[in-house]
């Protein structure tokens, strides 16, 4: 059962035209909407984070199942592996933020004489910010590269040592990710509202990442299946992906509400300062995010049949992906652009440009290696998967 995905001309043109439309919209938007520097940098940050999360989740998915000794995911391993190929580009894009530091992060300004920010200066300063960024990307790219290389080596050699080495790599990645996923979300998202802090913010961001990543993998499975590949991915695998999407949408809401309830209940001005602009200036969007990210998937994926229907599941995945983009938008925008922010040509242009680039990287790396791994001791279990 050796099959290799070939990137068709049609798909390639489709992806490139998404990016092309993006560039066109950006140029149009630049002249029509004349956005300020804040808006442009905020958009760069939002899309950087969004696609970084999806790419990074590829590594999480692999490592998570590897250290849990899961067998069922083995047959679809190449998809999350392809997602991680976007990480180096994500790193380059993230370092671009250096030029937009002052437009995005209030704390990076000189001579603020702000006692709260002075107290946080040991952590929140520009050199350390970029040192941490470099460390995160070094760890993520390095470990996901090794994880992928390990399975590619395994394809050529049936030795069991690759399986065991993969477990060690996965454990290392998990530990590194557990710490960095929290600190990354403090650095890049929470520090936009530098006076405010929340202790469960890191998990909240991580679960958002989990949902986005699962939705992306579902859509890639659906696309590849529609092209006639992956016939060994059966209803049971789809069902499990649906369960993930369902469960983690609920968990996302659980964390969101845990954060909100405590701040609402104690009503301390330093804490409510975070929700006040979101509830007054962006009220509609604020509640839309909750409906799209929790209520819709909760009701839409409740039954077993819904989770096993790939078409319906793909539709829910698309809606949830839009919802989580809006979620990141709501995290970034009130602290940077503020009241005047609106979703217009610039926003859509940026998404389309990033999406085009992301899909191009993912599909070219899918086409490079066979879609099915070989010699994995758990591969047979994956074919006969049954819940």
């Amino acid at each position: 059962m050796e099959e290799k995905y070939t990137l068709k001309r049609k798909t390639q043109y489709g992806i490139l035209s998404i990016a092309g439309v993006g560039i066109l919209l950006l140029i149009l938007g630049y002249f029509i909407e004349s956005p300020n520097r804040q808006e442009l940098w905020a958009n760069v940050l939002i899309n950087n984070l969004y696609f970084l999360f999806i790419a990074l989740f590829g590594g999480v998915f692999l490592a998570l199942h590897k250290i849990a000794y899961a067998g069922w995911y083995t047959a679809l391993k190449r998809i999350p592996e392809a997602l991680t190929k976007f990480l180096p580009i994500s790193a380059a894009l993230m370092f671009l933020i250096y030029f937009g530091m002052h437009d995005l992060y209030h704390w990076s300004h000189e001579g603020l004489h702000d006692p709260i920010l002075e107290g946080k200066a040991a952590y929140l300063n520009v050199p350390f910010f970029f040192a941490r960024m470099a460390l995160y990307f070094l760890g993520w790219i390095g470990l996901t590269y090794l994880l992928r290389k390990n399975t590619l080596d395994q394809d050529l050699n049936p030795d069991l040592k690759y399986h065991n080495r993969g477990k060690i790599l996965a454990a290392l990645f998990m530990v590194f990710f557990a710490i960095t996923s929290s600190t990354m979300s403090w650095d890049w998202i929470m520090s936009i509202d530098a006076h405010w802090f929340s202790t469960l913010f890191g998990w909240f961001i991580f679960i958002g990442m989990f949902v986005c990543g699962i939705a992306t993998i579902i859509l890639l499975i659906a696309f590849l299946k529609s092209q006639g590949y992956l016939e060994y991915i059966n209803k049971e695998h789809i069902h499990d992906m649906g369960k993930y999407l369902f469960a983690f949408s609920i968990f996302w809401m659980y964390l969101w509400f845990s954060q909100y309830l405590l701040i609402w209940y104690s009503h301390i001005p330093e804490e409510t300062a975070y929700f006040a602009p979101r509830l007054t200036d962006h009220k509609v969007l604020f509640f839309t995010v909750l409906v799209i990210n929790f209520l819709f998937p909760f009701l839409a994926l409740m039954t077993r049949d819904a989770k096993r229907n790939l078409k319906w599941l793909s539709f829910v995945a698309i809606v949830v992906l839009i919802g989580h983009w809006l979620n990141i938008y709501m995290l970034v925008i009130p602290g940077t652009v503020g009241k005047t922010a609106q979703i217009g040509l610039i926003e859509i242009g940026f998404i389309a440009l990033y999406l085009g680039g992301f899909l191009y990287v993912v599909f070219t790396s899918l086409a490079k290696t066979p879609l099915l791994v070989k010699n994995d001791p758990l591969l047979e279990e994956s074919f006969h998967y049954e819940t």
């Binding site: 509400f257 909100y260 309830l261 609402w264 209940y265 009503h267 409740m302 077993r304 049954e386």
Partner: protein
């Protein structure tokens, strides 16, 4: 009088094959008892989809409405108090209790529906066919007709799959 045949297998593959064979020949299988879940057994036995999830949803929905409705009634209509400077109808503070009661009602509805449907619970009469079915044996119990015409046919199928301790039993209804 009710007659049935019971036998056990040492291996689940034999059990699966025997069950398939018996089902194909239209024998009525009363029960299959295994120490652990066996993949592929449910479709062979022709089980219908469980309706427990529907009951869970209905129970959960009732719990959700009761919890939210009762809190709203108690805090707004019946005994309004000012608590922490919040409005009487404070939705976020109702959510945790609503969530808990939703889960509780859904769980209770499912557990009791299951007990009632499978005739379990206090006072239930469920004969134990073999002491070792919860240990290491895969047991099958097949209903027989009263005249005893099916005995040999069933025994033949069971023996073909190396069944052991094949016993014909009779119980009064």
């Amino acid at each position: 009088m009710r007659r049935y045949i019971s036998a056990y297998f040492e291996d689940e593959e034999n059990l699966l094959r025997a069950t398939k064979d018996l089902r194909n020949k239209q024998f009525s299988i009363q029960d299959v008892l295994t120490p652990f879940p066996i993949h592929g057994l449910d479709p062979i036995l022709g089980f219908k989809r469980s309706r427990i999830p529907t009951i869970g949803f209905i129970g959960g929905a009732i719990g959700c409405i009761i919890a939210f409705g009762f809190q709203a009634w108690a805090f707004v209509v019946d005994y309004p108090l000012f608590i922490g400077g919040k409005p009487h109808f404070a939705i976020p503070s109702f959510i945790p209790i609503t969530f808990e009661l939703t889960v509780l009602f859904a769980a209770f509805a499912m557990v009791f529906a299951f007990l009632i449907r499978s005739k379990l619970g206090p006072g239930a009469n469920n004969p134990i066919h073999d002491e070792r079915i919860t240990d290491d044996r895969f047991m099958i119990i097949v209903d027989l007709d009263e005249a005893g015409n099916q005995d040999e046919l069933v025994k033949e199928i069971l023996l073909k799959e190396e069944a052991q301790e094949i016993k014909v039993k009779e119980i009064d209804k």
